[in-house]
C-alpha cells in the first residue's frame, strides 16, 4: 500500500511517517511514496506517485484539505483518505467525509490512535 502524507507542518509529516513505519503497520506493507505541504503540491504528487492511501491535513496554505480531498477523490475514487486535523467541530468532519475522506483523526493524536486509524483505513 502506497501512502502519501499531506500536512503543512514538517514536524507532523515526520511524525506520521515515523509512526507509519511502526512494526504493526509494517505487516500491512505500507510504503511512504511522498509528502506534500499543501493541497496543490499534494495534487501534483498524487498524479506522479499514485498512492493508495493519503493522510490529509485541512488547514493549509494554497489549497486547503477539503478541496484537496475532493480533487484526489475525483481523480481516483478508490483512494482512501484519512483526514488528520485539529478542527474539532462535527460539521468539518462531515464536510471532509462528504468530499471523499474515508476517516477522520483529531489532532493532537498519539501513536496508538494513528496506528489504529491507519489500520482501519487499510482494512
Amino acid at each position: 500500500m502506497k501512502l502519501m502524507i499531506v500536512d503543512d507542518s514538517s514536524i507532523i509529516r515526520n511524525r506520521i511517517a515515523r509512526i507509519s513505519r511502526h512494526v504493526d503497520l509494517a505487516k500491512l506493507e505500507i510504503d511512504i511514496v511522498g509528502q506534500a505541504s499543501n493541497g496543490k503540491e499534494a495534487v501534483d504528487l498524487f498524479v506522479k506517485a499514485h498512492p493508495d492511501i493519503v493522510t490529509m491535513d485541512l488547514t493549509m496554505p494554497e489549497m486547503d484539505g477539503v478541496e484537496c480531498t475532493k480533487a484526489l477523490a475525483y481523480m481516483n475514487p478508490a483512494v482512501r483518505i484519512l483526514v488528520i486535523s485539529a478542527l474539532s467541530d462535527k460539521s468539518t468532519a462531515l464536510k471532509a467525509l462528504k468530499n471523499g475522506a474515508s476517516g477522520f483523526l483529531y489532532k493532537p493524536f498519539n501513536d496508538e490512535q494513528l496506528i489504529s486509524a491507519l489500520e482501519s483505513l487499510v482494512n
Binding site: 507542518s9 514536524i11 507532523i12 478542527l87 489532532k107 493524536f109 498519539n110
Partner: protein, 155 residues
C-alpha cells in the same frame, strides 16, 4: 460584539491539558489565568505562534514558549530535527491545534488561519482586539509557556 466569557476560556484550558497529555503522556498545569493589562502584559518567550480568526469571530490566538520547552516537546515527539525552522513549525502547530480544538465549542464559523510563527525579540502583540486579552499561563515539566486569547464574537 459579544465578550468571551470565563466558561469559554475553559475550552482552551481543556485543549492545553489534552495537547500535552497526548504528546508527552504528562500533564500540563495551568498556573494562572488572568486578564492582561498594561501593568501585566502577556508574557512572551522565545517563540510565538499566531492564529488569526475570521468568520463569526475576530482576533487572534497566540501560543508562546521558550526554546527549551519546544525542544523537550520535539524530543517527546521523537523528532530528530531541531533546526530553527522546526522550532518555528512546532510553535505554530501548537497554536493551530489549540485553536482548532476550540472549534468543538465555538463551531465551524470560527475560521482559523494557517499559523504564522516568529522568534524573539518581539515588540508587542499586534492587532489587539480586546483591551484586556485573556492569558493562560502553562507549566509543563519545569517550563512555562503562555496562551493568549484575544478574540470576540462579532455575529
Amino acid at each position: 460584539m459579544h465578550k468571551i466569557n470565563e466558561t469559554e476560556i475553559h475550552v482552551f484550558i481543556d485543549a492545553i491539558g489534552h495537547y500535552f497529555n497526548q504528546i508527552s503522556n504528562e500533564i500540563a498545569i495551568v498556573k494562572a489565568a488572568y486578564l492582561a493589562s498594561d501593568a501585566e502584559p502577556p508574557p512572551l518567550y522565545d517563540y510565538l505562534g499566531t492564529i488569526n480568526l475570521s468568520g463569526d469571530y475576530q482576533g487572534s490566538i497566540y501560543f508562546s514558549a521558550p526554546r527549551i520547552l519546544i525542544r523537550h516537546l520535539l524530543i517527546a515527539m521523537q523528532e530528530p530535527n531541531r533546526t530553527e525552522q522546526d522550532f518555528l513549525d512546532a510553535v505554530g502547530e501548537i497554536a493551530n491545534t489549540l485553536a482548532g480544538n476550540a472549534r468543538k465549542h465555538f463551531g465551524e464559523f470560527m475560521n482559523i488561519s494557517v499559523p504564522t510563527s516568529t522568534a524573539a525579540p518581539f515588540t508587542e502583540l499586534q492587532n489587539s482586539t480586546r483591551i484586556h486579552p485573556f492569558v493562560i499561563m502553562i507549566k509543563w515539566r519545569q517550563y512555562h509557556a503562555s496562551l493568549v486569547i484575544d478574540m470576540e464574537r462579532i455575529h
